[in-house]
């Protein structure tokens, strides 16, 4: 039930804009965890407000309170200056609050129209044509190009996101909340999204956008609120009044050292850590996922792989570590054929998988029990495993790598994505290796751990490992890689050397354009 507690204020100053959303001193504590303490925030019509902070800073809790999932312990919320108290997301939607989730909530097997029908009030009988017309009209009005008849599974992630935003707008939202919308997009798609956001802003919508990338704050936000440890550090300030360093310090609590720019040059005669010769391979659906890829990574070299998600990154990583059979071509690690995971491991390969939860995690086992699963022989103690030794090795790795893994007795199903990622990173990157294949190594991590992970990977490179790194963050690749190869639709569409690093150039290659 929506309880309208207060009455609309008599407009005292007709000139000032009335915020669509105003949150005043929201506090939410879960037992000992102070998820939000005295957080205030407002979004004006025609304004983009960025909400930034590290993992665990309280962004999700705040969004969930605004969207009616959680009830705040104290504080109040006003919509158009009317105090409301929300009991459910449905009430939030009725009041004009729309949420675009990070994991998009469309049904892949249905068309855009059918998906819309699921959330719009269309009555008991579906009239697809009328609805498609409505969608087309709305699509034109808001400048969101969406084909109503297309099946969602045939849309790119960017198109799905547009469909989702359109859906939210068609349900009558005036405040659109975007939860880390850019984390799944290619750079060009990010630009397209920002174009959409810009247009919505000029049409008077309020936008609340969650991100952890500063360049995005600078590109799109009128104001920014920084949360750390559930407490607002900066409240609705103009980003232009602050330097990057000041904003990062606000988020992290201390200055984060930049990556060292100077690095030892790659030894052009160094042994090949990984060499792929005209490798082709099929994906899980049987399609040709890799098309005659030739690629080498020398020891002491970090090769970055850029590409729109789903261009063959997963298959490339799996082929390189013996996890996926090739249909033609050869894969060698340090000169040895790597046809099975066992052979790849024995040749000195370690890998950080693209989807650690699905591919590397046994949810019922503890952090400690995951540590010996690096492919090396278990430390033995009679018939069993020498857990004491694994424990001390883990403590040592944890100290050395500094990724602060969760307590070793915790089971993996209790851990968040970022914590799981740190467990896998610590296990895979603590020992010497010939080849490191790291897919999205900093995914799910906050700024300080991202930096720490990048440093660890550079240390592995300095220690003589060849590193093949997949990333969706071009800035990260350009800061770290000795060379960037670009994957497009299963083949390498280009190779870029540091002198030519340029977002637009790489972006064009990612979309298959010629350099």
């Amino acid at each position: 039930m929506t309880n309208v507690v207060g009455a609309p204020n008599e407009s005292e100053s007709s000139t000032a804009l009335v915020p669509i959303l105003r949150v005043e001193r929201f506090t939410k504590h879960f037992a000992e965890v102070k998820a939000n303490t005295d957080v205030s925030l407002d979004v004006l019509p025609g304004e983009v407000h960025a909400l930034v902070g590290e993992n665990g800073a309280g962004k999700s809790t705040l969004l969930k309170m605004i969207y009616g999932v959680y009830t705040p312990d104290s504080g109040r919320m006003l919509i158009d200056d009317v105090e409301v108290s929300l009991g459910s997301p449905a009430e939030a939607r009725n009041l004009g609050i729309g949420m675009v989730f990070q994991d998009l909530r469309l049904v892949p097997a249905l068309s855009v129209t059918e998906n819309m029908a699921l959330s719009l009030d269309v009555g008991a009988i579906l009239r697809p044509r009328a609805l498609a017309k409505r969608i087309a009209a709305a699509s034109e009005e808001y400048g969101l190009a969406v084909e109503p008849r297309a099946l969602v599974q045939h849309l790119s992630i960017g198109e799905r996101q547009r469909a989702e935003i359109l859906k939210v707008l068609m349900t009558g939202a005036r405040l659109v909340i975007l939860d880390e919308p850019t984390s799944v997009l290619a750079p060009q798609e990010v630009q397209a999204l920002f174009g959409v956001v810009d247009r919505l802003r000029s049409q008077g919508f309020g936008i609340l956008i969650v991100t952890h990338k500063l360049n995005e704050v600078r590109a799109i936000a009128d104001r920014v609120t920084v949360l750390r440890g559930g407490v607002p550090i900066l409240e609705g300030v103009k980003p232009s009044d602050y330097t990057d360093e000041q904003l990062i310090t606000a988020m992290v609590g201390h200055a984060v050292p930049a990556l060292p720019v100077e690095r030892s040059a790659v030894d052009a005669d160094a042994e090949h850590a990984l060499s792929l010769e005209s490798v082709s391979s099929r994906g899980d659906k049987g399609h040709e996922a890799l098309k005659s890829i030739s690629l080498t990574v020398r020891r002491g070299e970090l090769v970055g792989v850029a590409g729109v998600a789903g261009s063959g990154q997963r298959e490339l990583c799996e082929v390189a570590t013996g996890l996926r059979d090739v249909t033609s071509g050869t894969v060698k690690i340090a000169g040895l054929a790597a046809a099975t995971p066992r052979k790849a491991i024995d040749a000195g390969a370690v890998s950080v998988p693209e989807d650690p939860v699905a591919d590397s995690v046994v949810t019922r086992l503890t952090v400690l029990e995951h540590m010996p699963l690096d492919g090396r022989p278990f430390p033995r103690r009679r018939w069993g495993i020498d857990w004491a030794r694994i424990k001390s090795k883990t403590a040592e790795s944890n100290d050395r790598l500094g990724l602060r893994i969760a307590p070793i007795g915790r089971k993996l199903f209790e851990l968040s994505g970022g914590n799981i990622q740190r467990v896998i990173l610590t296990r895979e990157l603590s020992a010497d290796s010939t080849l490191v294949v790291a897919a999205y190594p900093s995914r799910g991590l906050d700024i300080s751990n991202v930096r720490r992970t990048q440093q660890v990977l550079l240390d592995r490179r300095a220690g003589g490992a060849g590193v093949l790194m997949i990333s969706e963050d071009l800035d990260e690749l350009m800061a770290m890689a000795d060379r960037i190869v670009v994957l497009h639709d299963g083949h390498l569409s280009g190779e870029v050397l540091p002198a030519d690093y340029d977002r637009q150039h790489i972006g064009r290659l990612m979309l298959g354009g010629v350099a």
């Binding site: 000992e32 018939w383 199903f413």
Partner: protein, 355 residues
């Protein structure tokens, strides 16, 4: 605004722990009470008095001195058949084939016994029967294992179907080559007395229960403390993670099924050499399936399996008395068994824990 400390990075507690659940004993008690209540309704429909029936069951099951002996003897093969489910379950597999593996284990033991019991010492025959039971059960499970590894046939289906094949094999043997008396009941020749499994110092309790308890403890230690046991947990938890860790998943899957089959084979050997002494048409009927349920009731943990098999053995013994005393069909007790299983599994379901 100043905040000097780093933000908390640990996962907040409220995400990891649910509500404090009632202690296990209370939940078990509530579950069994519910099952009895539902069963009472059925008894009333059958025109009997629930209190009388429960009273009879109690007396015949726990008061009569012979009953405990009977329960323990019934329990031994059930517990082993349950362990035959526990080990493959650790590797993420459903072994529904305990019944067939038990029968083939018994057939192998009987074959060895028929060939040797008249001239070898009894103890030697017992050891040979044990080995034959192990090999027979494991071989039967190996068929399902190979079907899974080579043709990706789900082992739940193949083990289940192989049960029927095993039963037909048994019938063939007792009707044709091993039939003792062509004019009488189709059975094999009875095991000679010296080769029958001994009882514990005149109590009437067979050696089978000792084997079952030792096996349960052994399975517990092997699963918990050996490298093999740990690898099975990894394969069972996430086979892809095991593959990526360089473990030989097919070997682990096959070995888990083989050990399961071997345990069921031992159950068959005990049923043959310790209880029935001859193969006949209803040999070891449903012990494999009851063991399967016992393993589920114990959530595939080896030591609780002993308790669960005790419960099922007691129900089986009580079922016999129901038939005799209360004039209820013997199948009635199967209904109670089912109620108890469903209620216990329902009430003791851990939140968020995958079965």
């Amino acid at each position: 605004m100043t905040l000097t400390d780093a933000p908390p990075t640990a996962q907040p507690e409220w995400l990891s722990t649910g509500k404090k659940a009632a202690p296990a004993v209370v939940r078990w008690a509530v579950a069994i009470l519910c099952a009895l209540a539902a069963f009472s309704v059925i008894i009333v429909f059958k025109g009997a008095s629930p209190l009388e029936v429960f009273g009879d069951m109690w007396v015949s099951t726990f008061v009569r001195p012979r009953s405990l002996v009977e329960i323990l003897n019934t329990m031994a093969p059930i517990a082993l058949a349950a362990l035959a489910v526990v080990v493959p379950a650790r590797a993420g597999m459903s072994n529904v084939g305990g019944e067939g593996q038990l029968i083939v284990g018994a057939i192998a033991a009987a074959g060895v016994a028929l060939a040797t019991d008249q001239f070898l010492p009894g103890e030697t025959v017992m050891v040979l029967m044990l080995l034959a039971g192990i090999v027979g059960g494991a071989a039967w499970a190996a068929i399902a294992g190979m079907l899974r590894l080579v043709f990706q046939v789900n082992e739940a289906v193949s083990t289940l179907l192989l049960n029927f094949v095993a039963l037909d094999l048994l019938l063939f043997l007792i009707y044709q080559p091993w039939r003792e008396d062509p004019s009488g009941q189709p059975t094999s020749r009875e095991l000679v007395d010296t080769a029958k499994l001994p009882e514990i110092s005149g109590l009437g309790i067979g050696i089978g229960i000792v084997i079952a308890v030792v096996a349960a403890i052994a399975v517990f230690f092997v699963l918990k403390y050996t490298r093999w046991g740990f690898k099975l947990s990894v394969v069972g938890g996430n086979a892809e993670a095991a593959r990526r860790a360089g473990l030989h998943v097919p070997v682990l899957i096959l070995s888990a099924l083989l050990v399961g089959g071997a345990l069921a084979g031992i159950a068959g050997m005990i049923q043959f050499a310790g209880i029935e002494y001859k193969l006949r048409a209803g040999f070891g009927l449903q012990i494999g399936y009851i063991g399967f349920l016992a393993s589920w009731l114990a959530r595939h943990r080896p030591l609780p399996v002993l308790l669960a098999s005790f419960v099922f053995a007691a129900l089986a013994v009580a079922g016999d008395s129901l038939q005799l005393d209360a004039q209820l069909p013997a199948a009635t007790v199967s209904i109670l068994t089912a109620f108890i299983l469903i209620a216990v599994l329902g009430f003791t379901q851990k939140k968020g824990a995958a079965l």
